[in-house]
């Protein structure tokens, strides 16, 4: 789960990370009041779940509260890479003497959280990693001990020459680690971590990504979710415990299992069609999930045909068939269904469908080709 910059800032500040004062605003009036409260020149920053806000014009300096109001009016409602700006952060505009990058990310290869720090701050760390890997110092954290004081100091010493700044940075790194651990994060970064002309080390921009698997035990973090930044259909899917990602095509797909769902999307494309979504109904045998899934897909106006691809393992074909029949009773389907059912309880499933006037195939290639032809996407 992504959270906004202002929320990430709050998390880090709660662990003691120094950051210039700031407030979030949803209207130009609020932005003006926030600028007045902060005092002095401010920066007005769009709060959206995507990078490249500055280049898109979503980050502006304002010398006065009146100017902050005007800049907020321009940024609020702006579209940045498909996301509408609904909130801005109004923060004190800091004087910057130097910019660094510090971050901690869950690393698959070492199976540990890894710190990365670089003197090249304010830029995309992936670019630095690709073009100048020597500019990054890395450290894998032993999960049994956390980030030890001397390790934090070793990282900080690669960023600063001044002993006071090294100590300040080492402290911030340990606070960043605590925030990462306590929030159940998979990524926490400060970019840039700046020094001011009088030598203070401060966090200017923060990004935190939460591991979705942590949310069941962290209700306060879950409450930070901003559903306005995602399509309503995805919110609805999550409430129904389905994994759904909306895409731009016209062939709706209902699949059990994430790998098979991706492979189904790929096969639609292979035969010349365009998938309308990724949807994994998971491994459970609950007919209601199928009803919910069809409700979500039929609400996508682009969808011309719905393809079921079910390989029964834990999922039982008869449960899915019952769900399909139930859904056709509850929902106006408006588009044709193409169904592939094989695996556990396949015969029972096919019998249930046939009794309701539907049919099923057993080959994935066959049903995908049929769905593509019905959507008019091939030839």
């Amino acid at each position: 789960m992504n959270i906004h910059e202002y929320q990430a800032r709050d998390l880090l500040r709660a662990h003691g990370v120094p950051a210039p004062p700031g407030e979030v605003a949803t209207t130009p009036d609020e932005a003006e009041a926030a600028a007045r409260a902060v005092g002095g020149p401010v920066v007005v920053k769009a709060q959206v779940h995507t990078g490249g806000r500055g280049k898109a014009g979503g980050v502006k300096l304002a010398a006065t509260p009146e100017e902050a109001r005007a800049k907020a009016a321009a940024i609020l409602g702006m579209d940045i890479k498909g996301f509408t700006v609904e909130k801005v952060l109004v923060a004190e505009a800091a004087d910057i003497a130097s910019e660094a990058y510090v971050g901690v990310i869950m690393d698959r290869d070492s199976r540990r959280a890894v710190f990365m720090v670089s003197r090249e701050g304010g830029v995309d760390i992936e670019e630095v990693a690709a073009t100048n890997p020597d500019a990054i110092r890395k450290l894998a954290v032993d999960p049994r001990y956390g980030l030890l004081p001397h390790q934090a100091y070793w990282l900080a010493a690669s960023l600063y020459d001044d002993p006071a700044q090294q100590r300040a940075c080492a402290k911030i790194l340990r606070q960043l680690w605590a925030a990462f651990r306590d929030a159940g994060a998979s990524l926490a970064e400060i970019n840039p971590l700046i020094t001011t002309p009088d030598g203070e080390v401060q966090a200017i921009d923060a990004k935190v990504t939460i591991d979705d698997n942590e949310l069941f035990r962290r209700p306060k973090i879950e409450a930070l979710r901003d559903t306005s930044s995602e399509p309503p259909s995805e919110t609805r899917a999550r409430d129904a415990s389905l994994t759904y990602i909306k895409l731009d095509g016209d062939i709706g797909a209902v699949v059990n299992g994430a790998g098979l769902a991706m492979a189904t999307m790929d096969l639609i494309k292979y035969y010349g069609g365009e998938p309308a979504n990724f949807l994994d109904i998971g491994g459970s045998s609950n007919p209601q999930k199928v009803v919910d899934a069809l409700g979500i897909i039929t609400s996508d106006a682009n969808v011309k045909v719905i393809l079921f691809n079910i390989f029964g393992g834990i999922t039982r074909c008869d449960d899915v068939a019952n769900g399909i029949v139930e859904a056709t009773r509850q929902i106006d389907m408006r588009v044709p269904l193409v169904i592939r059912l094989t695996g556990t309880n396949e015969e029972e499933g096919v019998a249930i469908l046939e009794a309701a006037g539907l049919s099923a195939a057993t080959s994935m290639d066959d049903v995908v080709q049929r769905a593509v032809a019905m959507a008019g996407g091939s030839d």
């Binding site: 049994r144 698997n213 994430a258 991706m262 390989f311 393992g313 094989t342």
Partner: protein, 292 residues
Amino acid sequence: MAIFIDRDTRLVVQGITGRDGSFHAAQMIEYGTRVVAGVTPGKGGQSFDAAGASVPVFDTMDRAVEATGANTSVIYVPPAFAADAIMEAADAGIAFIVAITEGIPVQDMTRAYAYVRDRGSRLLGPNCPGALSPGKCKVGIMPGHITAEGAVGLVSRSGTLTYEVVWHLTRAGIGQTTCVGIGGDPIIGTSFIDCLEAFEADPDTRAVVMIGEIGGTDEQRAAEFVSGTMSKPVVGFIAGQTAPPGRRMGHAGAIISGSAGTAAEKIASFEQHGVGVARRPAEVADLVREVL
């Protein structure tokens, strides 16, 4: 021969009285797996009866291993308790621990992985379908009837996509030594390379199928291992060519971060290192027939 599990496997089911644990324990017994014990805290002394077998239930792993000589465990414990169940199995001296549970917090897994490694056990998963050596032993949730005994090893990050490919192999008359699902999470105990190494060493395995997906670089490093170390032919398939970047595609680990972990990158790596790449799941069987 087979890898990881065979007729000598003595299995304990952690969470045997739960909804998933009891269902799959029965399925495994029916398949012929030697399920020697179950563990559910607070239910020690009961027995689990299914498919004509009566399996003793213990409160702790320590007791279960002591009483039955179990050497392998499979975990169907809810996410909040699963990492501890993994560590309990390692403490009890279990050599091969299979974690089926989906949704374990990744930070829990960093601790569990280090713990298991320190004790010299092997962890498969989590968020995986387990392993199946056709005709010998099934540990996990793979449907047994789609597999057949034979000479092809299969390793995959997916569940149902694995079944799809195995089903094509079996229908094409190509049996398997062992099918292994390594799991869809970012932090997993057993990698592609671990499985490739085991298949390379298994005298009965003549070729290997490797099924990957977007996210991470495990497939790329596995491809390097194939060209650098393996004598047996390997063919593969990568899911997620149409996946949008930055979105978690169901599996917690299936995400393209920035420009890294794309299907195109993995397919190119397979091709560069001599791993034949199927364009469709059904094509895997054709490629295997060519290399056998």
